[in-house]
């Protein structure tokens, strides 16, 4: 009897592969995990329900008098809301404090990533390392003026080009100072349209420096400090803009160090792993180490070593945003997205998984234990307690040395494969590598490249609007389903989609990053544009710090003309259908504060505080012109965005078919100079 109950309980804990994911490779690997008796995130999601009060955002554990739990009664609250914590904190205060802390967490993650890049850039600029060099001097020259670094210098009364190393050294100092400077505000907000910058200034949300705004949130959410949700969200805005400042720097300095992406061909999904190759998977978020691993794994020395151990070569692939970084710049394929990290090991073919920071499951160690896979942590702040995890601390001054050591270890591990290797056949070709610069180029070439080409086709109605569909996976939702449904609904309605992060990998796995998908999935207008430019309807812009690229592109659109004066004026919307991390909240906040309508899928932890929820919606819109919205149903989710896009088209007066204006001489004389 007892035995039977145990068995039932055990069976109940397993995920249904079809309900867990829409992706075939994922389904196959879930089935394999069940056969092998290995537990994954999918099973745990079935076994463990989320905390209902935490889900509502109204659990406060910021002091030891709590945790104070303020669930919203099932029928809601009529009349005065009398819920309070021991200190008297209202549901609004608690939800807002929790929300703000999520922003701080996300901002810390992104901007600390940015800091690491700035430090490597400093080392490269000052020639303190041999392994990192400035690979893209053109990008360096193009960004320098935005940080107040002169690119020309006067010599004998003549302006000449300034020494590139000198520019780099000065920029490195200025960049690093962004995290801790005093007396001014961060430089990135100046890149926005003047009206937006002025608005932020007026509202008092320009970040003083990146670190300070995170500290500020941790301080004001301590017991007994900021107890006004509006004031909390004001700081939430300032901290999110600090996140953006750090992310933007991360993107730009990475481009300078490792090259600005331009379109390239690669593949995605677990099928990119090769049975007869040494499989190394890089996972996490930073490109600093993975750049070196790419170089090391392609070195003749390592390839020869691979041959020696009986492998045909070294197959490098990636998961999460480390994957996106090396995808965008080198075409290294994506092995999978966030929810597939355990599954990559379950193939039995992963000889080493090298992780850095963010979104790395601790359970990887437990899964790796079942195989020969070496799980290697590399970042001083990201270790694991399990004994089978190797820690090889990566140091930018010995970068290549460390990378070679890691790759050697992986190659030598090839012969230790024990379990049967089962790699799903599923993989799709993808065209990735879009950056602000390369999009501009492809909208008209060297001579006529301009975002106005895009604007013109938004104005003429072939493109209805632009959507950014970004973000994570979340095991509380069917893996990839919301992303794909939202994206397909948008492109069917002629909305072009920009993507980053795990959303980008999802789109790639479904073939939506192939140019011929335009004819299959898009409305006629968007299909025609994709055909003319030769692009897929979904453009992969990189990792999650590269959401800065999407905002940068949105700024370029406004600057190119015809789309109003500010980011809130034109038909654009944001979406994170399967979000799960604090970083997503921070990104959402800076996108909303930039004036962009943003819809999150699943839920947001604010339902327990209806007043605060309404503030994120209409309150934010009144201040910033952008707002938070929540919609779990992906079709409705897409249509909220489309409705917003249509609203903006109407406001711009481009909701009707454009007339063909035939110019006579008088019209031409009236042309602006």
């Amino acid at each position: 009897m007892v035995e039977k109950v145990d068995k039932e309980a055990k069976e109940a804990k397993l995920a249904d592969p079809i309900e867990a994911s829409v992706d075939k490779a994922t389904q196959q690997m879930i089935i394999r995990s069940h056969k092998l008796g290995i537990e994954t995130v999918f099973d745990r999601a079935v076994a463990m329900k989320p905390c209902n009060i935490g889900l509502q955002g109204t659990c406060c554990k910021n002091c030891a008098m709590g945790p104070c739990r303020l669930p919203l009664p099932k029928g809601g609250i009529e009349g005065e809301d009398t819920r309070k914590g021991l200190c008297g904190a209202t549901a609004n205060t608690i939800a807002a404090r929790n929300f703000a802390r999520m922003i701080a967490g996300g901002a810390a993650a992104h901007s600390d990533h940015g800091r690491s890049v700035a430090e490597v850039f400093y080392a490269a600029a000052n020639k303190l390392t041999n392994d990192y060099k400035i690979k893209d001097p053109i990008k360096l020259l193009s960004i320098a003026p935005h940080y107040g670094v002169e690119t020309k210098v006067e010599v004998d009364g003549e302006m000449v080009d300034r020494d590139i190393d000198e520019i780099a050294v000065e920029l490195a100092d200025i960049a690093l100072a962004e995290w801790g400077k005093t007396g001014s505000t961060t430089l990135v907000p100046k890149r926005f349209p003047q009206v937006r910058y002025d608005l932020w200034k007026k509202l008092g949300v320009l970040p003083r420096n990146i670190d300070r705004e995170i500290v500020d949130i941790m301080h004001r959410t301590h017991i007994g400090v900021d107890q006004d949700y509006k004031n909390l969200m004001k700081q939430g805005a300032r901290c999110a803009l600090a996140d953006l400042s750090g992310s933007w720097l991360a993107t730009e300095l990475q481009d300078v160090l490792f090259g600005t992406p331009s379109p390239l061909i690669s593949e995605a999904n677990l099928g990119v792993m090769k049975k007869d190759h040494v499989n190394i998977i890089v996972h996490g978020h930073e490109p600093i180490l993975s750049e070196m691993i790419v170089a090391a794994s392609q070195s003749a020395e390592m390839v020869e070593l691979a041959h020696k151990v009986g492998a045909k070569g070294i197959q490098l692939s990636g998961i999460c945003c480390t994957a996106n970084e090396v995808l965008q710049r080198h075409g290294v394929p994506n092995a999978g997205n966030f929810l597939q990290q355990e599954l990559a090991i379950i193939t039995g073919a992963c000889d080493a998984m090298v992780v850095d920071v963010q979104c790395v499951f601790q359970n990887l160690a437990n899964v790796a234990k079942c195989f020969h896979t070496k799980l290697i942590t590399t970042h001083p702040m990201a270790k694991m307690e399990q004994s089978n995890v190797l820690h090889i601390e990566f140091d930018e001054h010995h970068a290549m040395e460390d990378a070679l050591r890691i790759v050697t270890m992986a190659v030598e591990n090839f012969k230790n494969r024990d379990a049967e290797v089962q790699i799903p056949a599923e993989k799709q070709t993808q065209v990735a590598g879009f950056s602000v610069e390369s999009v501009k180029y492809h909208l008209g070439g060297t001579f006529r490249g301009t975002y106005y080409t895009l604007n013109d086709n938004i104005i003429n109605g072939r493109i209805r609007g632009v959507a950014a569909v970004v973000g994570c996976n979340n095991a509380r939702q069917q893996h990839n389903n919301a992303h794909l449904t939202v994206i397909k609904e948008l492109i069917k309605n002629d909305v072009i989609v920009l993507t980053t992060g795990c959303g980008g990998i999802t789109a790639a796995m479904a073939g939506l990053l192939q140019p011929d998908s335009a004819a299959a999935y898009c409305g006629p207008g968007l299909a025609e544009i994709c055909e003319v430019v030769g692009i897929p309807p979904v453009l992969h812009m990189g990792s999650c710090v590269d959401n800065s690229r999407i905002l940068h592109a949105a700024i370029e659109v406004v600057n190119a003309g015809g789309m109003g004066k500010d980011l809130c004026d034109w038909p654009v919307a944001g979406s994170a259908p399967e979000w799960m991390s604090e970083k997503a909240i921070s990104i959402g906040q800076y996108v909303v504060c930039s004036g962009i309508y943003t819809v999150f899928g699943g839920h947001l932890p604010i339902e327990g505080a209806p007043v605060f929820k309404e503030y994120l919606n209409s309150g934010m819109e009144a201040l910033y012109g952008g707002m938070w919205a929540i919609e779990a149903d992906p079709i409705k989710h897409a249509h909220l965005m489309i409705a917003h896009i249509d609203k903006k088209r109407k406001e711009l007066g481009i909701d009707k078919a454009r007339e063909r204006v035939l110019m006579d001489m008088a019209d031409r004389q009236a042309l602006e100079g």
Partner: protein
Amino acid sequence: MSKLIAFAAIQGGYKVVAQVEGELERALQTYDASTKVGFPNTAYYLPVIYSLTGLKCETLEDLKKPMAFARGLLPPHIRLKNWLPYLGPLLDAGMAGIISYEVKEALRYLNDPDFYIAQEDPDVENGKLWVGAADDTILRKRGVEFVDGSAPGFAAMVGAAPNKEIAKMIVEDYQKRSLYIFCAANHNGKTLIQQCLDAGMQIGWNTRIVPFGPDISSAVFALGFANRAAMAFGGVKPGDYKTILKYNKDRVFAFVNALGDVGTEWGVAAAGCVNWGFPTIADTPIPEILPTGICTYEHVVAPVAHADMVQKSVEVRGLKVQVANIEIPCAFGPAYEGERVRGADLYAQCGGGKTQCTELVKMADMNAIEDGKVTIVGPDLAGIKEGGTFNLGIFVQVAGREFQEDFEPIMERQIHHLINYIQGIMHIGQRDISWIRISKAAIEKGFTLKDIGVVLHAKFHQDFTKIIDKVQVTLYTNKEDVDKMTATARANYQTRDARVDKMTDEDVETYYSCTLCQSFAPSHVCTVSPERTGLCGAYNWMDCKASYEINPTGPNQPIQKGECIDPKLGQWKGVNDFIYKASRGAVTHYNFYSMVHDPMTTCGCCECIAAMLPACNGVMTVGRDYSGDTPCGMKFTTLAGVMGGGASSPGFVGHSKYNITQGKFLVGDGGLLRMVWMPKQLKEELKDRIVARGKAMGIPDLFDKIADETVGITEEEILPFLQEKGHPALSMEPLVG
């Protein structure tokens, strides 16, 4: 499928670049690397390369750089599955092709210097069909037509029509719409130009059917013309490729017609043209590119039926053109203005020294004339045999509530070009020295003298609708009637001339602005006063006044000159305020009567440019017809390049020919007595007036003291001549204080 176009054009890019690289290599083996290369009489080097990159190609060696640049632009080939974006690469490949084509043409000028005939019209009899690159004189002369709207744009036509009838239909339709037709390339050896000739059409710049060359590479001359317009009239700096190309997209209404199969070499050229915003309209079923963006509307439209080609083309380019619908048996439009009636084509003529031909426009009482009445007093052409002559008096009476006697000469001046607009009729001269030649072709179509009356009536109404209510035309052909009318006309001319010549700047309180050319030179504002006619020579004060009456919101606006700030240099507060606003803040003030101190701004359309000659303590001037060197060290075209685009350049000023002998010409700097050098031809042209003006200024033999190119083309060469002649400038106060 755009992908197929990209695929083909990129292949074409590789092919063309490789071909031209080979030709350049051969040339470098044949000639010394320092051998001069270039197109004739231009200050813009190889104009497409110069305008886009700033590279000045003067020698064979210099051609390596643009070719390396073109090679660098070539993108990877397009994959047919899972392709990378190709729009940018396609446009880059196109540009690589265009650059290579320009180098190819430069090499042709080197290898085969007589291939092209360097004149406006080809020498058909001797088989010299192709005129090649337009030189700067043609650019300026024809460019003005683009600027003032008399030529709304150009059709770059490549290939050949299926037969000469279709060729004629399309080309004539463009002519009727006043567009220029720039022809290049052949289709299986056939050219549109040969088809036009076979159809009996006149070709050349004068009829707007320009035979650039027989190969696709010759199409680059059209782009060189367009880019020079951006530099000469728009003041865009060479190397600023973004502005040059945007200027073309917004202001130069050109497009490509591809007649015949579009192979990779045409494909790459068409892709290149898209960089300019010039779309391609083809008669074969090539893939279309309909979305907008790089061009204002569609990029490639095909296949278009020949009957719809012209209408579709102007629509795709977003161009509105007026077709004059005049009820006469011959075609009509500006494109026929330059057409000749040569000896062999001549049926009959009047004037030109053989007989009398006189024109007069008079204001009439509203009730005294009947609108649209055309009367022939005497026999029409019916009685005249082939080769015959006759007398003609054209007497036009106009009436209108807003009409003023002062407008009579303006209306009368229209007669010259309006008669010329009739296909097969040629008009030369004006007033009592007119000369009309009527071709056999016109007679065959049924032309009679009455048609002159029909044209004048219709066009006066069309062009001057605000001031004209009634037009009546009487044509006299009996000698005694013509002589009588001529006597009346001469008395009228005299009265008018006296009135206009005596008019001074002090007589009026109102000057007129002229921003006619702002479509091309956005910051330029002319101010026209009675003694300073417009620098293009086309508009005097009276014209501007009339133009304002006709179109009160048009390019000529009254300016109350207001308080005089400097009577000597000619500066007024009202004028300064106006130009500041009209130039959108670019120009704050200028002087009417000085070239030394803040002279008036100059657009690329000026007839002449005066320049300081410090060693001679004087000034020189040069007209745009003179292509030689001048004592200031620059040819006209170089000067215009330095000055054009609405800049005020102390030491230089643009002006009209007529202005040279007007009373206020550079009077702030000493006036006409400063003039120490002019091209001989210009000097001769103005001889009577220079003599008269010299006399009025106390130097009756001033004309003989002015040097010309026969004396010298440097200051050192002309100074002894001036000293010997005792030129007044030498003893005047220093020109620069």
